[in-house]
Symmetry: D2
């Protein structure tokens, strides 16, 4: 089994994924997509930046949109348990020889900006401004009624290496796809917060962000979003779904924002808090892996992703191919 045993006593304590910073080329177009269509709430807005949160989130934002020349993901952020963990994280990355520096970020406390071994720009923080709860202000709910950020998914040019690194810092594998021929990992889902994942890796030209996902209450929220997007000019932004994943057992939809950043709407995975939770293995050639109901994902889903700002990508050496829709 190529999935590593969990590291139950990691060097620092990551609570959960926090937020993603996207460069977008047209803030107004992005606002129409994320706010008017998906249903995220604006928590800050100026000429350069829009901050967004989902309905049950109390942290200031889970997506930050920044006006940019070209579409990109600037960083993926994770929330730490305490300030002490920030220092421990700094020491860990320093020791690894990975670039790490403390940076100022609006709406949050001391923040560590660093990189994973493939170059993914990671940021760690222990404090973000807390906002009043709005989860019972039902007049604000609309669109897909997104409740909280759920996970990131990244292309990796070496999934085994990516999983080994994140495993070292405490992420635990819940499900994984193995290439039967080589015995190597083709994809893996890894978590900190007790769901199927905070982060996932898929074999491909990397590092790139494959998607960020938001949790919704049930499949009808996703059907509502499909109806809305289909009749408000976003038909071409619907990429894959709806369906149920074999992996994670979640109900899903993938859509693309005006810059092509991929967003998943996601619900109904399962609880994984037990330290002895057993990962589930899937064969790359299992047609129910991607979608329990059998429909393969389109080629764009396997090939397209968001570049990280100023990060070079590499082709994977594992050449095994998934089942792709014709």
């Amino acid at each position: 089994m190529p999935a590593p045993a969990p590291n139950l006593y990691p060097p620092f304590n990551i609570i959960r994924l926090g937020h993603v910073v996207f460069s977008v080329t047209d803030l107004a177009a992005s606002r129409a997509f994320y706010v008017d269509t998906l249903g995220l709430q604006v928590t800050h807005e100026d000429d350069e930046t829009i901050c967004l949160r989902a309905m049950e989130e109390r942290g200031h934002h889970s997506i930050m949109l920044r006006r940019g020349e070209r579409a990109a993901a600037q960083s993926l952020s994770f929330k730490l348990f305490s300030e002490d963990d920030l220092d421990k994280a700094r020491a860990f990355f320093d020791e690894k020889g990975l670039p790490a520096e403390c940076v100022e970020r609006p709406f949050q406390g001391r923040t560590l900006a660093t990189r994973d071994p493939h170059g993914i720009p990671l940021e760690f923080y222990f404090h973000m401004d807390r906002l009043p709860h709005i989860h019972q202000q039902y007049a604000l709910y609309h669109g897909a009624r997104p409740l909280r950020i759920d996970h990131f998914n990244c292309f990796s040019s070496n999934v085994d290496a990516s999983v080994a690194f994140y495993n070292e810092i405490g992420f635990r594998v819940t499900e994984y796809t193995e290439d039967e021929e080589t015995g190597r990992l083709w994809a893996a889902w890894i978590h900190r917060k007790g769901g199927v994942h905070d982060m996932a890796f898929t074999n491909g030209m990397g590092p790139r962000l494959h998607h960020a996902a938001f949790w919704v209450a049930n499949p009808l929220n996703i059907i509502d979003l499909l109806d809305l997007m289909s009749t408000t000019g976003y038909l071409g932004n619907i990429e894959r779904g709806p369906g149920r994943h074999g992996i994670s057992n979640a109900f899903f939809l993938y859509v693309r924002d005006p810059d092509g950043h991929r967003i998943e709407l996601y619900c109904s995975d399962y609880q994984t808090v037990d330290p002895d939770h057993e990962p589930i293995r899937w064969d790359l050639k299992d047609p129910q892996r991607q979608t329990l109901w059998g429909a393969p994902a389109p080629r764009s889903w396997f090939e397209e992703g968001t570049l990280f700002t100023d990060v070079e990508t590499a082709e994977p050496d594992l050449k095994a191919q998934p089942i792709v829709a014709p």
Copy 2:
């Protein structure tokens, strides 16, 4: 069995219920309720009148709100198959000695204004202005996402007599409540359009309008409305539900508008188009009659209703009592 056999060849052909005209004391407050909260669409609006339709309706309106001194129901309207049926209806009501005259109504063709034997102001029309369909303009959907008007329910001081009259003009009984002691009808559900009812009668001081109902797609639309009303100042307007009716098997919620007019949100009853469809009998003392899950309705639900403009009411002679919540 006190439910009469259907009159399959009635004197004129009623297609379905059409609309109700409500007097309301504060148009702005009513607009906030019906449009912003329930989710009906405005099709006409002036200083005196607001016309509303639900999402799949193509007729101009299913509710007309008119500014008035006091809350009342001005009329219940029904759509006829053809203009010929309007003349036949006129002849029928004339022969019965019931007041009947042709009147002008905005947005519709020739209209017959008449009364049922208990004085309920009925109007019949064969043409109402047709509007472009909006059922696939999903950006307009909000609130409870009402799809179409479903039925009226009236208090009657003599349900046997009410049912006999409406049976004569072609309404067919689908379910009814019998008072076991007297063998008399305590309530009845009667239809023209092929669902459980276009009209129902309940024993009580009558005639009064008990409620008008709108069809929604599924129970989650009703739960969404409850969440919305509970957090936007309408907590006191929630009267009964949610629940599943024993009678009709429909999922329901009853709410009150700012003037106290009762509106039901309703879904999941069944098809009754067969001429040999058998009515279902319920005993007044069956605790599952009102709500399949056992919860009795509150006293207000049995006692309060909307007066018809300038119509005197009478107490019922049938004194049998339903199960009322303590």
Copy 3:
């Protein structure tokens, strides 16, 4: 506009579609599919025949399965308003020179067996045995929880001609697809009972039965069926969906029975009882026609269908092609 005006005074009164008789090659396999998986209820069963009804149906059956050498549809049945209508129907088909004879059918009264001009074997009956209602026996609900038969859809080698014939006997067009180049009908949805259709025709080698459809309460029943079929050996029987149709606005799934007969699970279309209900036109090249969300149907969906017993088929002369999934 190629959709004919409705014939509001047809020669005889058809209430609704009634049932389909399928030849199946393995009764036990069909039972596992229709009963254990879809959730239909057995109302009669012997060595040659299984009769099935959905949860709210009170007629004896809406599907009859008969053991046969090869898969086929033996007939499509429709319920008439009265016995008088049976005689009128007989006269109508005789006058048209179409084969028509009275036949004995189990569980129903006098029955007229005839053919439409393309050879589709039609049967008309006014009485079928009525069974006790089971719609509130919730312990019986399982699978997709089918509530009632909703419609048939047939391939026709000449949709204009098919629609003209059924229009003459009172079916009304609710939506239709036009081939822009020729101005001819490529498909049409026609009804008697007040929904979007009791019958539909699609351009193709015909006559063949494309599918029979069952109404369910909401999309989650369809998602439940997908989950069930995906994990009980029926993965390959899932053909298309889930999705929302552009035409009809209904949420749908198409599955194939063990003999390849296609069944649709269907919900959320709209009411069409008004005699002045306006049909909706769609262009054959509109990508949202098939699926509002844009996904095209697979080739099998356009090409495969069930032969009617002993009926020859013809290729359509209209060669216009829909959008087909690659």
Copy 4:
């Protein structure tokens, strides 16, 4: 604010609630309720004992039913992070002077049996037998389709004291009800696993178990259970709901098993993993506290509960009263 600050570095690490052991007087009747009706899966069964798990659970059981002379709760069990935590827990309870001993329990590793200061029999274990996952065996899903155990709720004669104790062992308060007059806690919801609660306390004659709750995917699963129980002889076992809690924002239903043990079906609360997650305060007199939609709970809900085996109860000194249904 009477809710204590969280103890982020507790003496031992509790992962989540684990299971409850119920004494039941008729194993067959309990089986019909928990298995055939609620939809739990049997993982062990003999003449004295039935073990049950929900659909996504991999631990051997979340409810154990044991044949007994009288209905009671024998213990509430919690899963620890590691065996080391078991030793730390032993030391903690010893130091507190609370009875603590290591016991043998079937299907699990070393187990600590102890008591909280009010006498609630608690058990802690770090290992329970792991079973193959069944969450994608959809043919097994039925009833309410319960996914996992979610929380326990207990009556306490002194909620302030209960919360102080559980806070010391790491439970964090997410929501609480304050009696405005005295400033004391009337109820509190406390968690370990990252949802609104693993445990809650309500002011009342205690200690007694108020209920154990199971998570379901969405409100329609709860509506399905209501329909099923209403028509299979369990009408009288429906106690309260359905509704949405003000506290927790969850959709709920309370039912009673054949011995009166109360079970909640529960969904749609929110994530609370942040160490700086702020508790929400509710006033005891807020009518939306119990049910966001305003309906008060019945008297039985406030007064009836399950005794713990051989544990004496005491009346609370806080006499403040909630709003009770008339």
